[in-house]
Assembly symmetry: C2
Homo-oligomer: 242 residues x 2
């Protein structure tokens, strides 16, 4: 399996995928055609065009929605990119279009490299349960692709010391996740990514990550950290701590 799981597609003040340009080019080595999955946003054509422009010197981009049956676009493809947006809408669309099973099978068999950003990274985890998004539509299940056995929280945001807002901080939200589920959560800061190649996994980018597990203090992971141990996780959902 080859996975590139980005926290975000765009860093502040930079172009689409620009902050991860070298990594994306490396990941797509030898790939002629990339299937882009635009369903996290409403404007599929516009979103695909944006990706096509950003990757025009790297790879040919085909929108999954440009085929009547988007599974046809995946047939024979060697790489897919699932873009960010609203993860509830994305998951609903993947299910409706039969893409969840198709993606899972082709990526797990090693035939298809999987690149995700934000909501696309949420999809690679076992469940939608650590998304930051608003549940604007209701998917029949929160079960996602399960390409890795741990959860990722994209756009991970450290608590702001001066804030007077009383909504939960990101770390408080994930602590609540751990009250109900026993699954490691990798909080990927914007600018960071996880790269998985077979049984190896590494933290890329320059901003690092925070690893949160039930019953343990949160742990800072520096850029370049080995994440291989997370591939041995045994996720247990709906296992209340109390």
């Amino acid at each position: 399996m080859d996975l590139l799981l980005l926290s975000n597609s765009t860093n502040h003040g930079r172009g689409f995928l620009e902050h991860a340009g070298d990594e994306v080019r490396d990941f797509l080595t030898g790939v002629d055609r990339l299937v882009f999955v635009p369903y996290a946003l409403a404007d599929h054509d516009g979103y695909t065009e944006k990706v096509r422009t950003a990757l025009r010197d790297v790879v040919e981009v085909v929108g999954a929605h440009e085929r009547e049956d988007p599974r046809e676009a995946l047939a024979g493809a060697r790489a897919v990119f699932v873009g960010g947006g609203n993860s509830f809408r994305l998951l609903s669309n993947l299910r409706t279009r039969g893409l969840l099973d198709a993606l899972r099978g082709q990526v797990r068999s090693g035939h298809l490299r999987y690149m995700g950003a934000s909501a696309g990274t949420n999809m690679a985890c076992p469940s939608l349960r650590t998304t930051n998004d608003m549940p604007i539509v209701q998917p029949p299940s929160f079960e996602t692709l399960g390409l890795v056995p741990f959860q990722i929280n994209p756009h991970f945001l450290d608590a702001s010391p001066g804030s007077t807002h009383m909504g939960e901080t990101r770390e408080q939200r994930i602590a609540e996740f751990h009250e109900e589920n026993d699954v490691p959560v990798l909080g990927l800061r914007e600018g960071a990514w996880a790269r998985v190649s077979g049984t190896a996994a590494t933290l890329g980018g320059e901003t690092g990550a925070v690893l949160m597990e039930r019953g343990r203090p949160a742990r800072e992971l520096a850029p370049g950290s080995d994440l291989g141990f997370l591939l041995d996780a045994h996720p247990r959902f709906d296992e209340p701590a109390r």
Copy 2:
């Protein structure tokens, strides 16, 4: 129907419910016993104790979880308070315990006054779809009590002009909600609340609200605004704009 729907239970730097003390006392006039629903947090006893302490001079507080069947606590009660926390957990618990139907029936018939804060306010709307919370557990449906025919977004947060974070602003999230659903959304800033008495509704507190509707610019509502027109809304979910 009598509803008091608070954006939040606690303003920064103040005690639990302190910012809305006069309104809460007015709302509970003539009520001896208040049933508190603590299921949005994991620690039911601790949460109920906190509410009991905060309201000790106002009303006797009984935790719904203190009865084997929490519906028994509601029998004959004249007021209920559904506390904040994680709204996915709250909704799952209300369903499992048969409280969703019991609450809906008793509040709609006018026998039970309904007070909610944050997640408790989400419950009063038709759907969970405008919550800010992380989906840490999966309720079988996003359908909530539907005591009002519009959506509320509690803890509404204006965009921060200096932010470099690339996650969606609250207004962007609600614009995505409107791409999929045609339902007015009242963004209640912290410190604000909606009070509903029969066919009348008013915006309380000192911070105001923002009304967001499909195809219209967001509209600022000043403290004291009449919200009665929102009680005539006809919510349409899963009606994509495109």
